[in-house]
C-alpha cells in the first residue's frame, strides 16, 4: 500500500509539473500579452515599462526558470491581473469552489445513485423509462444552458438568489447567519453542476447494477433465502460500484478545479472563474497556478476513487481481476 501511495504521489507531482508548465508555455506563446491588453491608448513608454516590469521582455526560458525557482520555494508568483500572490488568490477561490463542489457532489450522489439502482433493478414499468428519459435530458443539456435555465427559474420565482455566494448584508452577520445566507445561494450553482453529474451517475449505476444482479452470486444469495432487496443492496450493489467509483475520480477532479461556465453565469467566485479571467487577461502565473491546482485535484480525485474502490470491492483488495 505504501509503495502504491508513493507511486501515485509521484504521478501527481509529474502531472502538476507538466500541466502547469504546458499552460505557462501555451499562454505565453498565444498572441497578445497582458501589458498590451492593459495599455491601449497609453503612452508607449508606459507599456514598455510594464512589459519589463512583468518580465515579458525576457525570453520565455529565462522567465520559466525563475518561475520554477519560485515554485520550488512554494512561491507561485504574483498575479498581474489582481496584483496579489497567486497562492493567496488560489487559496481563497479554492475554498469557494470546494464548498460548491462538495454540495454538487453530494447532490449528484444522493440523486444519481438511488435512481440508478431503482431504474437498473426494474425490468418494466413507466418509472424506469421516466428516470431514463430525465437522465438523458440531464446529460444532454450543456452546462451553460442548464445554468442559465436555473438562473432564469430563480429570477422568475424568487426562490433563490440568482447569483453570488453571499449577500451584501453579510458584513454584519454572525457565523450562523452567514452559513444560512450561503445555503440560500448554493442551490442554483450546485444544481447546475450536480444535475448532469447525477444523470451520468444514474445511467452508469443503472447499467452496472443491472449487470451485477445477473451474476451467479446474487442468484446464490437469493437461493440462500435472502429477500430480493437484501440481495441487491448487500451483494449486487457493492460490485456495481466499480464503474461508478471510476467516474468519481474524474468528477472530483473536475468539480474541485472549478467549472468556469457555471461560476461565470452564477457569479460564484471560484477557481473556474479565476482561471477564465486569468486566461482572458494572459495572466501567466495565475494561469499556471490554476492549472496546477486543477491537476492536483484530478490526482487527488483519482486516488480517492481508487481507495474507495478498494474499500468497496473485496476482489480489488485481493488483487483479483473483476
Amino acid at each position: 500500500m505504501g509503495r502504491y501511495l508513493i507511486r501515485r504521489l509521484g504521478f501527481a507531482l509529474l502531472l502538476i509539473f507538466v500541466v502547469s508548465s504546458a499552460s505557462l508555455l501555451l499562454t505565453r506563446l498565444a498572441p497578445g500579452d497582458f501589458a498590451t491588453d492593459q495599455t491601449f491608448g497609453v503612452d508607449p513608454a508606459v507599456r514598455e515599462r510594464l512589459r519589463a516590469e512583468l518580465g515579458l521582455d525576457r525570453p520565455f526560458a529565462s522567465q520559466y526558470l525563475s518561475w520554477l525557482g519560485g515554485v520550488v520555494r512554494l512561491d507561485f508568483g504574483q498575479s498581474w491581473l489582481y496584483s496579489r500572490p497567486v497562492s493567496t488568490l488560489i487559496g481563497e477561490r479554492a475554498i469557494n469552489t470546494a464548498m460548491l463542489a462538495t454540495a454538487a457532489l453530494l447532490l449528484a450522489t444522493l440523486i444519481g445513485v438511488p435512481l440508478g439502482v431503482y431504474s437498473g433493478t426494474r425490468r418494466r414499468g413507466p418509472g424506469r423509462w421516466l428516470v431514463r428519459a430525465i437522465s438523458v435530458i440531464g446529460i444532454s443539456v450543456p452546462p451553460l444552458i442548464g445554468s442559465l435555465l436555473l438562473v432564469f427559474v430563480a429570477a422568475r420565482t424568487g426562490w433563490f438568489p440568482v447569483g453570488g455566494m453571499t449577500s451584501s448584508a453579510g458584513l454584519d452577520q454572525t457565523w450562523a447567519q452567514w452559513l444560512a445566507d450561503l445555503a440560500r445561494h448554493l442551490p442554483v450553482p450546485a444544481l447546475a453542476l450536480g444535475i448532469p453529474l447525477a444523470a451520468s451517475l444514474e445511467r452508469l449505476q443503472s447499467q452496472a447494477i443491472e449487470s451485477a444482479s445477473r451474476e451467479p452470486f446474487v442468484a446464490a444469495s437469493r437461493a440462500r433465502g435472502l429477500e430480493r432487496a437484501q440481495a441487491l443492496w448487500r451483494h449486487a450493489w457493492p460490485v456495481s460500484l466499480r464503474p461508478v467509483l471510476g467516474l468519481y475520480g474524474v468528477m472530483i477532479g473536475t468539480l474541485f478545479s472549478g467549472s468556469f461556465v457555471v461560476e461565470v453565469v452564477t457569479s460564484w467566485p471560484g477557481l473556474g472563474r479565476l482561471m477564465f479571467d486569468a486566461l482572458k487577461a494572459r495572466d501567466l502565473f495565475l494561469v499556471a497556478g490554476c492549472a496546477a491546482t486543477g491537476a492536483l485535484f484530478l490526482a487527488i480525485g483519482t486516488l480517492i476513487a481508487d481507495l474507495l474502490l478498494a474499500w468497496s470491492d473485496p476482489r480489488v483488495r485481493a488483487g483479483e481481476s473483476a
Binding site: 498565444a30 498572441p31 497578445g32 500579452d33 497582458f34 498590451t36 491588453d37 492593459q38 495599455t39 491601449f40 491608448g41 497609453v42 503612452d43 508607449p44 513608454a45 508606459v46 515599462r49 498581474w80 491581473l81 489582481y82 496584483s83 496579489r84 488568490l89 481563497e92 469557494n96 414499468g125 413507466p126 418509472g127 421516466l130 442559465l148 438562473v151 432564469f152 430563480a154 429570477a155 422568475r156 420565482t157 424568487g158 426562490w159 438568489p161 440568482v162 447569483g163 453570488g164 455566494m165 453571499t166 449577500s167 451584501s168 448584508a169 458584513l171 461565470v264 453565469v265 452564477t266 457569479s267 467566485p269 471560484g270 472563474r273 479565476l274 477564465f276 479571467d277 487577461a281 494572459r282
Partner: protein, 582 residues
C-alpha cells in the same frame, strides 16, 4: 394502489406544487408593479450596481482601466470637475479660480475646512504632492502624459495652504479642464511610498480600507475578491446640495462583481441590482419588457455613443510593399467605395435593431460640442461604389463573383475583429454582405481582444473592425488619436513624421486648436480637421448606437452622460428608495 401508481401520483402532486408556487410568484411580481417611486431627493438607502471585472489597484494614477476609474469616482475628489452631462466646468475641491490675461497661470482657491475621511486636514500640500506623484519618473504613472502640455509638465506651487497656482508651459485650449483628470491623493498616507520609490505598489487592492483616506462621497468598507465592494458614505464629504443637505444622498453603494452580461441582466430583472455599468444591448430590451411593464425597471436614454464601431486599413506602406493589391487597397478612393457600398440605415437596423444613427466620422452627434454635421457624406449607392472600383482598375475578369485588378489579384481583404462582441459580429457580417454586392470579398477573422490590439500595435493586419473609447470628448485631450505621432493613431501608429500631407495638415490644425483659448476658433479649426478626415477616410464609420441603460425604479437623481460611467459619474446625487432584493 400499487407502487407505480403512487409514484405517478407523487409526480403529479409535485407538478401541482411547482405550478402553484410559480403562480404565486407571478402574483407577487404583478403586485410589485404598483410601486411608485418619485425622484424626490432623499437621504439613505443602498444603491447596488454591478462591475464586470475587478481593479488591479485602487491607485488611479497608475492604472487607467474602468474599474479603477470607477473606484476613483466613488471615493475620490478633484480640484475641478467637468460636468459630464453639460460639459461645464464645476468647482470641486477648488471653490474658485482666476486666470492670468495670457491664460498661462491659473490660481485656485481651495475650500476651507475640507478633511480627509480619516480626519486629517486637506490642504494645498496634498495637491502639490499629487502632481509630484503623477510626474514621478520612477512611478511612471498613466496620467503623466495626459497632464502634459506640448510634452511639458504643468508647474504647480502652493503659496499657502488654501492656494494652488498652476502654470501652463504654453496656452492650452481646454484650460483647467485638464485638472479633471486628476484625483487628489493624501500626502500624509503616500509621501513615504513616493520617497521610497514604491508609489506604484501603494494603494494596492489588499490595502485595509482603514488605510485608504479619501475625499470623495464614499469610502471603502469592504472588498471581497470575486464578490463585491461595499462603500459607506463618507461622513466628512465636503459637498452639499442646493438645500444645504450634505451629500451623498445614498448611505451605501454596493458593487457586485458579475462577470457575465446575461447574468447581470437577470439580476437586474430579479431586483438584485439597481443598474448596470454598461448600456443595454438592443436585443435585451425585449427580455426586460415584462419588468418595464410592471414598473420595476425603466430605460434611461443616454444619447448617441461616442465610441462607435469603425473599420480601418493598415496604412503603413512597408506592410504592403510586396503585395500586388497595394496599388488600390491603400487609396482613399477604395475606402470611399466601401463607404458608399454600406447602407447605414440597414446597418442600424441589423446591428442595433434600429437604435442607431448614421455617421461619417469619429465625432458622433453624442459629442454635441465638437460634432460637425457638415462633413462629406457617402450616401448608399452600389452604382457609385462600382464606378469608383472600376476607376481603380477593379473589374470582373473571370467567371466568379469577385473583382480582380490588372495583375489578376482578387479584390479581397481580411478584417480582424473582436470575438464574441454581438455588435461587431453583426456589423462585420453587414460589411461582408455589402461589399459582396459590389464584388469585393471580405474575410472576417474574429480574435481575442488582446490579440487584435497586439497585431494593431505591430502593424500586422490588413484591416481591423473594432471600437474604442476616447479618453475625453475634447479632441485636444485625445492627441494620441489625432496626431500622426500618437499611440492611438490606429491606422499608422507612432509616425516619426507625418506619412501623408493630409496627416501633416491635421497635425498642424490639432496643435493650433490646442494652443488656442478661444472656444469658437477652436471649434472652427476642429471642423476643418473633421473635413479632412472625412475626405481621406483613414477610418470608416457607419453607425453610432443610441445608448440606453436599464435602471431600477428605486433609483432617482440620475444625470445621464455618454462617457463612462454614464450614470455613476454623479453618484453623490443618486437617490434610492426601498430595499433591493437579496
Amino acid at each position: 394502489m400499487n407502487r407505480q401508481s403512487r409514484a405517478l401520483l407523487s409526480l403529479l402532486l409535485i407538478g401541482v406544487i411547482v405550478a402553484v408556487g410559480w403562480r404565486s410568484c407571478a402574483d407577487q411580481e404583478e403586485s410589485a408593479g404598483e410601486i411608485v417611486v418619485s425622484d424626490v431627493s432623499t437621504r439613505g438607502g443602498t444603491l447596488t450596481t454591478s462591475l464586470r471585472s475587478e481593479p488591479r489597484t485602487f491607485n488611479r494614477l497608475v492604472d487607467a482601466n474602468f474599474p479603477v476609474d470607477l473606484f476613483s469616482i466613488l471615493t475620490g475628489a478633484k480640484l475641478i470637475r467637468v460636468n459630464r452631462a453639460t460639459r461645464a466646468i464645476e468647482a470641486g475641491l477648488a471653490e474658485r479660480w482666476t486666470a492670468s490675461p495670457d491664460n498661462l497661470t491659473h490660481t485656485l482657491t481651495l475650500r476651507d475646512g475640507v478633511q480627509w475621511s480619516d480626519g486629517a486636514p486637506f490642504s494645498a500640500a496634498d495637491v502639490v504632492f499629487t502632481f509630484q506623484a503623477a510626474y514621478d519618473l520612477k512611478s511612471q504613472t498613466v496620467l503623466a502624459s495626459a497632464l502634459r502640455v506640448n510634452g511639458q509638465p504643468l508647474k504647480v506651487t502652493a503659496p499657502d495652504a488654501r492656494t494652488v497656482v498652476v502654470t501652463f508651459p504654453a496656452t492650452f485650449g481646454p484650460g483647467i479642464a485638464i485638472l479633471d483628470h486628476l484625483p487628489i491623493l493624501p500626502k500624509h498616507k503616500l509621501q513615504a511610498a513616493l520617497d521610497a520609490g514604491t508609489f506604484r505598489q501603494a494603494m494596492g487592492v489588499t490595502t485595509p480600507p482603514s488605510e485608504l483616506a479619501v475625499l470623495g462621497p464614499f469610502m471603502l468598507r469592504s472588498y471581497l475578491p470575486g464578490q463585491r465592494f461595499v462603500f459607506d458614505r463618507n461622513p466628512r464629504y465636503w459637498k452639499k446640495d442646493a438645500a444645504g443637505i450634505q451629500l451623498p444622498y445614498a448611505d451605501q453603494v454596493v458593487l457586485e462583481i458579475v462577470p457575465d452580461q446575461n447574468a447581470e441582466l437577470v439580476r437586474l430583472q430579479a431586483g438584485q441590482i439597481d443598474l448596470q455599468q454598461q448600456q443595454i444591448r438592443p436585443e435585451d430590451i425585449a427580455t426586460l419588457k415584462p419588468a418595464i411593464d410592471q414598473g420595476r425597471v425603466r430605460l434611461v436614454e443616454i444619447g448617441v455613443a461616442d465610441n462607435p464601431d469603425l473599420l480601418f486599413f493598415n496604412l503603413r506602406t512597408p506592410y504592403w510593399q510586396k503585395d500586388p493589391r497595394r496599388e488600390w487597397i491603400l487609396t482613399k478612393e477604395f475606402r470611399k467605395a466601401i463607404s458608399h457600398a454600406v447602407d447605414r440605415e440597414a446597418y442600424a437596423n441589423t446591428v442595433y435593431l434600429g437604435a442607431g444613427v448614421p455617421i461619417w466620422g469619429p465625432i458622433t452627434p453624442g459629442n454635441k460640442e465638437w460634432f460637425s454635421p457638415n462633413v462629406q457624406r457617402y450616401g448608399h449607392s452600389l452604382d457609385r461604389a462600382r464606378e469608383i472600383l472600376g476607376q481603380l482598375g477593379l473589374t470582373n475578369r473571370d467567371a466568379d463573383e469577385w473583382l480582380e485588378d490588372k495583375n489578376n489579384a482578387e479584390a479581397r481583404f481580411t478584417v480582424l475583429t473582436y470575438r464574441g462582441n454581438s455588435s461587431l459580429d453583426r456589423g462585420s457580417a453587414v460589411l461582408r454582405d455589402a461589399l459582396k454586392a459590389v464584388g469585393v470579398a471580405v474575410d472576417v477573422v474574429p480574435l481575442e481582444q488582446g490579440t487584435v490590439i497586439q497585431r494593431m500595435f505591430k502593424g500586422d493586419f490588413e484591416a481591423i473592425m473594432f471600437f474604442f473609447s476616447p479618453t475625453s470628448l475634447d479632441p485636444s485631450m485625445n492627441p494620441d488619436f489625432w496626431l500622426s505621432s500618437g499611440s492611438a493613431h490606429i491606422w499608422n501608429i507612432g509616425q516619426e513624421k507625418p506619412a501623408t500631407a493630409w496627416e501633416k495638415e491635421i497635425d498642424d490644425l490639432i496643435l493650433q486648436m490646442t494652443a488656442q483659448a478661444d472656444p469658437a476658433e477652436r471649434k472652427r479649426l476642429f471642423d476643418q480637421v473633421q473635413g479632412i478626415f472625412a475626405d481621406n477616410l483613414p477610418a470608416i464609420y457607419f453607425v453610432a448606437p443610441r445608448l440606453q441603460m436599464a435602471v431600477s425604479n428605486r433609483v432617482g437623481g440620475l444625470e445621464p452622460a455618454i462617457s463612462r460611467p454614464q450614470l455613476l459619474w454623479n453618484v453623490e446625487k443618486i437617490t434610492v428608495q426601498g430595499q433591493a432584493a437579496r
